[in-house]
Subunit: 217 residues, 2 copies
DNA sequence: TGTACATCAGTGAACGCGCGTTCACTGATGTAC
DNA sequence: TGTACATCAGTGAACGCGCGTTCACTGATGTAC
């Protein structure tokens, strides 16, 4: 058609016959379309249109829509891991302060990246069946696992709960609050407090139940 | 075509020109199709085919696919409420035993009724924007709220947490564990314990954190 | 009890549309010499 | 430095398909008298 794109959002380089980085552009197109219309209302053809290429072009990079979707989820897990690791920051200045940051980051990701979040947790992408995806998910979980280990290490040695269980509980709390109350879109419920406050209180009660004094020395 | 249906699953009455209860049949068809292929892979036309009627027939009962989807979610909330209320059973023989049953029932529903669960929580149905749906969701939540109140009533009057917060926390724990680990389909992660055990331990630690001795007298 | 009529649930044929997918192609890029 | 060639990313036209939606219709049901 022309040298210009049909859609905005891809201004990085002047288009030539070769796109340059269509694979990336398609992932970003998918993200944008999922954010706009949910995981259901997003098609391979539309992603191509959004990226400004012919409907046949995506086939050079993805076998089908599902593979593109899986790539979005993979990218999501990678960014999720990075965000959580940044928040954890080696457990500085102490495990409880850092854990609180991790919780807030979890909620922030769910709200700020609803497309990633949907692709990772709600779109029915078969994470367990895809080794690359599963490992990316496990790397993200490993951050929570590390945090749980630090929390457990702060407990008296007798009666320490298994760190893995604590990590799974932390994950469930963050995921539960994020899914139910912390999405950007309309799935909001009226709440007497913010999701952040709700999660913070939840973790505090939980840690107290473990026998930890999270308020610090 | 013939007197027989194209698909099994609808044998209740011998079909005549009038279906008899097409509205019900369409909801059940939607459930079956969602269970098979997820919320995305289910169409209005296919639901009609599954119910054994022409593609125009559903328009007598639902404005469009979204309205059918919302009806599925509504039915889901109703059944969810009923199941939770049955499990709670007025808090007998004591709040903690009953709460444990409620948690197990939450997980059982998520696993046993994945189509309802998806429609209610993952399909992007705008629950908050639809009064009927929202109220049905609130009635289901009210069961958890009642359980939380009973748990709080078992605490010493000084330092009782707000029952609403406790209810939201219970919801988040159950929902988090169910969503992450307790779905029937492939979204399973390898776990060192069953979702039921994980949730039970989670609630126990949480209650201990509230200062409650859930092990009973 | 029987007949006439209004109602309305479901029919079936038709339509336009966008999607997924394929194909032979073409233009840009990189590399060997 | 320049030329020839291989590679391959993206084109654009084409297709079959199923979906959503509409329409005038028809058969079943219920009700008034």
């Amino acid at each position: 058609m022309s040298w210009r794109k049909d859609e905005p959002g891809e201004r990085d380089a002047p288009r030539s016959y070769h796109h340059g980085n269509l694979r990336e552009a398609l992932i970003r197109a998918a993200l944008e379309l999922i954010a706009r219309k949910g995981t259901a209302g997003f098609t391979f053809a539309e992603a191509a249109r959004f990226a400004g290429v012919s409907p046949a072009a995506p086939y050079r990079h993805f076998r089908d829509r599902d593979e593109l979707m899986a790539s979005v989820a993979l990218r999501g897990f990678e960014q999720f891991e990075a965000a959580l690791a940044r928040a954890w920051d080696g457990g500085r200045p102490d495990a409880f302060t850092a854990l609180d940051r991790v919780g807030k980051t979890y909620l922030e990701f769910a709200r700020g990246e609803p497309a990633f979040y949907s692709a990772m947790f709600e779109a029915g992408v078969p994470v367990a069946a895809n080794p690359t995806l599963r490992e990316a998910g496990e790397r993200a979980f490993a951050v929570l696992r590390g945090a749980a280990e630090a929390v457990c290490a702060a407990m008296p040695a007798t009666g320490r709960p298994p760190a893995l269980m604590v990590a799974l509980h932390i994950w469930a709390m963050a995921h539960g609050v994020a899914s139910l109350f912390g999405r950007g879109d309309g799935a909001q419920r009226a709440l007497p407090m913010s999701p952040e406050e709700l999660l913070e209180a939840h973790v505090l009660v939980y840690l107290r139940g473990l026998g930890v004094n999270a308020a610090g020395p």
